[in-house]
Amino acid sequence: MIIDTQLASLFTAVSLVIIGIYGAVFLDNLIKKVISLAFIGDGANLFIIALGYKPGGIVYIFLPGMAADWFAQHAAYPLPFALVLTSIVIGASTTAVMLGLIIVLYKKYKSIKASKILGEL
């Protein structure tokens, strides 16, 4: 392949963020706006994971028999992975809060169109 795995993953993450921003701005349905915001979060997580990747590396688990210098040179960088693990769970819970607010808005306005709730421009 011409481009390696890390660069292709970064392009995928940027594409997800662009798709999410397009959906959150131009789509009229509130549930589709929330789906787009979830895509933006997934793109950001994939970007951070791709930054910690090391081509030809190993998983960051120190097994018996490995030399410490060899492990430090070949293992992937584990700090972004530990942070993204928290970010995924927080993203899921904020999505749940947004969906609950949409249900409350539907009970008040009987519609989930943003142009009807906020008023036409």
Partner: protein
């Protein structure tokens, strides 16, 4: 080679999920990029993140969206 196919599935599933007029189909299609991204995390040397993403992205979030669609209106007008 398989990671490029997974990246293509992620982008294609995201576009398809935002193109549906039936919101229940959109909620179910949201699980496809989540599952493909879990496999992609495994290829990017992050197996613990892949475990979390496999549960959250492909099971919990589509169920949340489907519950919200069930409580509101299904067809986008």
């Amino acid at each position: 080679m398989i990671e490029y196919i997974l990246m293509f599935i992620v982008i294609l599933g995201a576009i398809l999920a935002l193109m549906q007029r039936d919101l229940l189909k959109a909620a179910i299609l949201t699980g496809i990029p989540g599952a493909a991204m879990a496999f992609l995390y495994q290829y990017l040397l992050a197996p613990d993140v892949a475990l979390t993403q496999a549960i959250v992205g492909s099971a919990i979030l589509p169920v949340f969206f489907a519950l919200a669609v069930y409580k509101t209106r299904r067809v986008e007008d």
